[in-house]
């Protein structure tokens, strides 16, 4: 009997198909060679200096909208998409966010709710990384309760006039197109807003302490005039944006497992090489307890992700399954990051090691796309039949 592999203790990846494994390896090789060497500098600088270049590289692999079909998308299964998210977030949550917002939010909205003309116009360019998209739902005063949004769209002849502000928009200031959700007289509707639309502007949000290797913006719509065909015909009400968020959250379920794995691996390596009191700190009982706890969290998270992925591919993933995964895995990743940072001692606070970078990123991952509280209440509603938040 062979000793289990520390990096995949429960041999979860053993259950992957050859194709899933090939996709995992491709993303891992690409991310390790092309992104990992730069990400600490990007985090330090508080931006991705060349988002177009990153988009072209990821687009060539086929990462954007990879689990969508047609329109230049690769058409993989959900598990493969999850694996890509895991490998990207093992490098940095900002990179997984980059892919989530493009593929799961902007492209999914257009793919699922757009007209044929809208799909033809945007999806192939977004799949290849030639065009960048963003997704505007959250507002300065409207987070967990998106139904309270203040952004309004009103008719003016055949045109639409949009007014309002969207907040915490990944890639907002570099996007070629924004999918913006606004309240109309007939409920919440989605609009495709090209960046050169008069009255539309995006401002970069500075001084973030989390997701620093990511561009976050505010979108301002001031009498932004759009033609009638900018409306997404297929989405009526909050169900539209919420279904896109469920896709993106699914990616987080896997991504968090990647961030946790990266922290655990770094802590294990560090503990084996760091000598104190004449021997590696990995040999001390207190360190071994930490390593064991991290190992359990990482493997629980990975198993949860794969199980939910399989349910999704079988068409049996309920939105509360995704809530379960997001709540469980992000919390597990936060525990691992905090313990791993301690194992690294003072070195853990630097960008030489990934642990504090992950730890800070996970603060955003924990609250965006549904806070822990909202997911707990979603589970509570499913268990009891009683919604506690409305």
């Amino acid at each position: 009997m062979n000793t289990p592999d520390a990096h995949d203790f429960l041999a979860v990846d053993h259950d992957l198909t050859d194709e899933e494994r090939a996709i995992r390896d491709t993303v891992r090789d690409y991310a390790t060679a092309e992104l990992l060497p730069h990400v600490a500098d990007w985090f330090d600088a508080g931006t991705i200096p060349d988002p177009r270049g990153v988009a072209k590289g990821l687009g060539a692999l086929g990462v954007f909208g990879m689990h969508l079909s047609g329109y230049g998308c690769a058409g993989t299964n959900a598990v493969s998409y999850g694996l890509a998210c895991r490998e990207l977030e093992a490098v940095d949550s900002g990179l997984r966010s980059f892919v989530s917002v493009q593929g799961s939010l902007a492209m999914t909205a257009i793919h699922r709710y757009g007209s044929e003309e809208q799909r033809q116009e945007w999806l192939p360019r977004m799949a290849s990384g030639d065009a960048l998209g963003c997704f505007g739902l959250t507002e300065p005063d409207s987070g967990s309760d998106p139904g309270s949004m203040r952004t309004r769209a009103r008719r003016d002849g055949s045109d639409w006039i949009l007014n309002g502000t969207k907040m915490w928009i990944t890639n907002g200031s570099v996007a070629d197109v924004a999918v913006v959700w606004a309240a109309t007289d007939d409920g919440i509707r989605g609009f495709i807003v090209p960046r050169d639309t008069p009255g539309f502007s995006a401002n970069v949000i500075h001084k973030k302490l989390s997701l620093r290797a990511s561009i976050t913006s505010e979108l301002v719509l001031q009498d932004a005039r759009l033609p009638g065909d900018a409306l997404l015909p297929g989405a009526e009400g909050l169900r539209g944006p919420l279904s896109c968020l469920s896709e993106a959250r699914y990616g987080i379920v896997w991504g968090a497992a990647g961030a946790a794995r990266s922290c655990f691996t770094s802590a294990l390596d560090y503990a084996e090489s760091r000598t104190q009191f004449g021997r590696p700190i990995a040999g001390f009982q207190l360190t071994q307890r930490k390593l064991a706890d991290m190992l359990i969290d990482v493997n629980h998270a990975t198993m949860t992700a794969l199980r939910i992925g399989r349910l999704k591919d079988e068409g049996r993933a309920h939105h509360s399954h995704i809530s379960f995964g997001k709540l469980a895995n992000v919390r597990a990743a936060q525990r691992v990051a905090a313990v791993a940072r301690g194992v690294h001692g003072a070195n853990g606070i630097t960008l030489e090691y990934p642990v504090m970078r992950h730890m800070l990123n996970l603060e955003s991952v924990a609250t965006y796309e549904g806070t822990e509280e909202v997911h707990a209440l979603t589970l509570g509603q499913v268990l009891t039949g009683t919604p506690a938040f409305r």
Binding site: A22, T26, A60, A74, T76, S80
Partner: protein, 259 residues
């Protein structure tokens, strides 16, 4: 142009590689199999030549059943089809026997150009390209960091210690490439998904008209008589510079016959 790329599955260089104690051949179960790195440059060069001149790229590998993983990667990068030479009789073949088996297979499947990496990371003999060319009766253009094809004319830059040689020949030919030649592409997801639909033909030694007595452990001209694990690195010696550091360094180098 009909291009055949020879690829080899080798044990991952990042893991501990072992020989088997029973027949002193590679222990393939002890390490993950990966595509020999230099062969990825060969695949990339073949794909670039195909993109520039048209034709077809066939991947050829010799190895046990699990070598199909290596084939899949080359197909995912964009090769059109594959031939897998796999037969228990080939187990333990040395470089000479391997070149014979590969040459027989190449004669069977046909080629205008054969491209391979200049050596493998496991056996590191670096002789297969020359042996193949000799057995096939074609020119050998080895250690190329640049390949140009014009009709049936082929020219390469051969990397040498002093710079490079320009070598010209006429197709069909055998080319081996070094890692400076290109930057291998990552397989795209579409490529990965298309790869499983591409044709992989598996040949045994009878299919390729390979004589059993000339291959395998029994047919090998070379033999691993004995092997031992590399000794652990000895602790270094610290020499204190007391104004005579230069002399001590020179003495050390002389004692090791470096100077």
């Amino acid at each position: 142009m009909n291009i055949v790329v020879c690829v080899k599955q080798v044990p991952d260089t990042a893991t501990e590689r072992k020989l088997r104690s029973d027949d002193k051949t590679l222990d393939r179960d002890a390490a993950d199999g990966v595509v020999n790195e230099l062969d990825e440059y060969a695949v990339e060069e073949a794909l670039r030549l195909k993109e520039a001149h048209g034709g077809e790229v066939t991947v050829l590998t010799m190895g046990p059943g699990r070598a199909t993983e290596t084939i899949r990667k080359a197909l995912a990068m964009g090769a059109d089809k594959a031939v897998h030479l796999s037969d228990d009789a080939l187990h333990g073949s040395d470089a000479l026997a391997t070149s014979y088996a590969m040459a027989q297979t190449l004669k069977k499947i046909g080629f205008d150009l054969v491209i391979l990496g200049s050596e493998s990371t496991d056996a590191r003999t670096g002789v297969l390209a020359a042996m193949l060319a000799e057995r096939l009766g074609t020119p050998q253009l080895t250690l190329a960091n640049k390949v140009d094809v014009d009709g049936t004319a082929i020219a390469i830059q051969r990397v040498t210690d002093y710079g490079f040689d320009k070598v010209e020949a006429t197709l069909p030919a055998v080319v081996s490439v070094v890692e400076k030649i290109n930057d291998p592409r990552y397989p795209s997801f579409k490529g990965i998904m298309a790869a499983k639909k591409k044709k992989v033909e598996t040949l045994g030694i009878a299919d390729a008209e390979i004589a059993a007595e000339l291959v395998g452990l029994a047919g090998a001209w070379s033999e691993v008589a004995e092997f031992a694990a590399a000794p652990p690195r000895a602790a270094g010696t610290i020499v204190k510079d007391e104004g005579d550091g230069g002399t001590k360094t020179a003495d050390f180098l002389a004692s090791k016959k470096f100077i």
